[in-house]
Symmetry: C4
Subunit: 276 residues, 4 copies
Amino acid sequence: MNRRRFLSVVPAGLLAAAMGSDITPREAQAAAEQTPNAQPIPVTNDERIAELIAANHILADLGVLDGFGHVSVRSATNSKHYFMARSVASAAVAQADILEFDEDSKPVDARSHELYGERFIHGEIYRLRPDVQSVVHSHTAAVLPFGLTEVPLKALIHTAFFLGTEPAPVFDMRKAVGPENHMLVVDTTSGAALARILGDRSVVLMRGHGMAVAAPSIRDAVFRAIYTRENAEVEMEALKLGNPVFMSQFEVTRFDRATRQWNEWVAEAEARRSGR
Amino acid sequence: MNRRRFLSVVPAGLLAAAMGSDITPREAQAAAEQTPNAQPIPVTNDERIAELIAANHILADLGVLDGFGHVSVRSATNSKHYFMARSVASAAVAQADILEFDEDSKPVDARSHELYGERFIHGEIYRLRPDVQSVVHSHTAAVLPFGLTEVPLKALIHTAFFLGTEPAPVFDMRKAVGPENHMLVVDTTSGAALARILGDRSVVLMRGHGMAVAAPSIRDAVFRAIYTRENAEVEMEALKLGNPVFMSQFEVTRFDRATRQWNEWVAEAEARRSGR
Amino acid sequence: MNRRRFLSVVPAGLLAAAMGSDITPREAQAAAEQTPNAQPIPVTNDERIAELIAANHILADLGVLDGFGHVSVRSATNSKHYFMARSVASAAVAQADILEFDEDSKPVDARSHELYGERFIHGEIYRLRPDVQSVVHSHTAAVLPFGLTEVPLKALIHTAFFLGTEPAPVFDMRKAVGPENHMLVVDTTSGAALARILGDRSVVLMRGHGMAVAAPSIRDAVFRAIYTRENAEVEMEALKLGNPVFMSQFEVTRFDRATRQWNEWVAEAEARRSGR
Amino acid sequence: MNRRRFLSVVPAGLLAAAMGSDITPREAQAAAEQTPNAQPIPVTNDERIAELIAANHILADLGVLDGFGHVSVRSATNSKHYFMARSVASAAVAQADILEFDEDSKPVDARSHELYGERFIHGEIYRLRPDVQSVVHSHTAAVLPFGLTEVPLKALIHTAFFLGTEPAPVFDMRKAVGPENHMLVVDTTSGAALARILGDRSVVLMRGHGMAVAAPSIRDAVFRAIYTRENAEVEMEALKLGNPVFMSQFEVTRFDRATRQWNEWVAEAEARRSGR
């Protein structure tokens, strides 16, 4: 991969940071604010957890997460750790459900809770990608056909610019772990294999399973998960009509600050919950 | 069919049980708990009926059952009998609607209620499949194209592993009962024909009509009905893009305890009803 | 058309009646009750109007009618007249909105209300088809592709048996009325042309516009409108997979009393309205 | 373009007006009322803003606008100015969010609000098309495939007559502004390029982005945005079945006063908001 494409999918200001592994959350935040594409990430864990809860609700309400998916955020005080809910439906995640996990995806204090079996998706992406501050794993049906066939998922609609001009990588556990696999990323080995396939990209498809989305902030992770689905839906229909015009190398680097959606999505999620 | 595939679709611990027909609910429960795939089934009829009511609401709310479908559970105290609602919309099923049926699908006490005409689907599957504790019959539109054409429905997404690697069998009443049929399974003869086509599988498609789903627990029956639809939807789109990679012989035997979804689905169904 | 197919789509007991034009509502009711397929129709106008209001709500709530469609019922006391709402959204139709129309689709007393421009669809079908007691006209998107192309819409799913084994007829105003038409059935001439294309069938597609559904009762009209859409949706997907097995001559004559759905649909429509 | 087609897409009474640029809102209103297709537009700014707020809610509720789209109306008192919300989600737009913009899309008084970056779509269409009183810009997924491929979007369903018989024009910023573009219409130059591609038509597709809809009233803009989506959905499915019969030159000039929908849509939007 040449440097130019790297620039097109990773915020430029995080390039240096991405080279080392000791980036602090504050440095990540500073880098994100310098770059055109990234949205801000809170500097305290309390704020990060509040956004994480909102992200769970938004992604569940919009149908990106079903009962099986999850979203996480890197810790602001220990960049090797991350926060994620205990094993619970995303739509119902509350403050008390959030646990801290270490670099091997072991809970710091599980408080007797059952855990998401596939938390290693998150832990291993954080280990390999210091620029990543938030990860989503989902079973979103619209992206599945692209992980099951040779048809590439690429940036077609301008809100999915982060998909870039190269096909989204596909993680097939049968190839990465061997034919006698469990289809699930339930240990550090398979998690690391997935993270390597993701590489420096935003989205990795998981054959017959779903996808993992990596982003420099919680807001971007939510945005990317939503618009990856939208790109997949539009690409599927466009392919049936003919050869669609994909975005160009230049177009995928465009500016797109999507703060407006975040505030709207949070407001809608809260309205639904207060109405209950 | 060789023994290997049998293992891949029927919980291994139920193999011996499946050979005889006198398995008790307690033995079925024990077997289910030993097997990796099966979810628990309550040991008392009160608890089974409570889960059955929840299953009706969940499947109606998620659109798997429309006005015509139904779900049943084997009796915990008389393994030849089963419980199912009187003829009523699934979304509205309550305790007072549940009736007990004998091995010939005759109501023990109909209490003047109208009955589902197609209850023989349930009765005859219970007769032929002692390992089955719960059955769903639905008109789910997404599976219909696979019952109407030569295109096989097979396990493509990991949550539908129970579909196995062989095409889901198709029950065409025109072949099973003759050209002058009623399209409906309204007697023991057509029910038995359907059960034979189902064989030892989880799902049988019904041409121009819908499907029947068999499972070792109510929770699994609900799970399987939902993810059969999801598999059908994804397969339909993947087929339009190319040749999808179906799950392998090994992958369909994977572990997948889906208790989390059950609790979530029950909570959502209750929330919707209390909000009424 | 031979007599056999006629029998398959029109309730047999109405055959004689269909030959003359002076059938009374009571005779139609008696005939409907003798036939296997037809649901009952109330014998008083008050009851018919109550069902008509419910039908408006059901079809609007299920998305079969959008702002443009309408449903009507023949008068119980004057078989040349029919009842239909004034020009208003179906979802909001109330008792006070119902008007009586004569055999030329003129309002008996318009009470200064604006009228549906396309009421002639109803009036002319009632004139030509004495067996028909209720008519639905809708813009349902799923049926449109079948009216726009050469691909025939035929009975594929068992709940749409009334579509029969022959392609649903297509009304193309360009052919029926001439190239300089208004695309709309806004007079008796174009209404009569549409009724002739419908002939003795249940459903006529309208090119680029929608469909008209004719039935021996309000309940059947609602049922047929809903399951014509379902059949169209399933047929569209099945055609993409291969050559689907359509229903046979015998199968389309099957018994299917769908009273259960009616009661459920009414209950749901009322629940939504009382919740407002 | 010959005069005949022009007549088919622009209300005839506005023809003379469209020639000059000094049409007053009252003249536009008068012209609209004389023409068969156009719906009325209020003559005072207070009424226009009330309709604009309703339009925001309707288009958001029906899913035509997501977080990114917007709708505007020309000022009744200064035909070079227009009203549009500040940068806020359409579903939540209220009186206090409405700002006035001048002919260069600069806010008359921004009141420190953030603005929609793509307001130049609106401003430049108003500049080039004096007959246009309202503009919608949306990311509606269903129309995207037609902007991404060579397949033309044309009037297929009678409620989308305004699309006309010629392919909807496609604005590809890569061609209009050059390969190093931002995919967004964020200045008068790109806005003017878009308006030129729109020409005298109702709808312009934006490659990989969405569409812009121009209309002689707010009600028509809402109607056109909704039925452009419907036409796209039906055309997509019809194309998969065969060669659909598109509307003829004569048919697209037909009368279709859609006031009924407007009142219904407003009532529904208000009901949803009062229920909150």
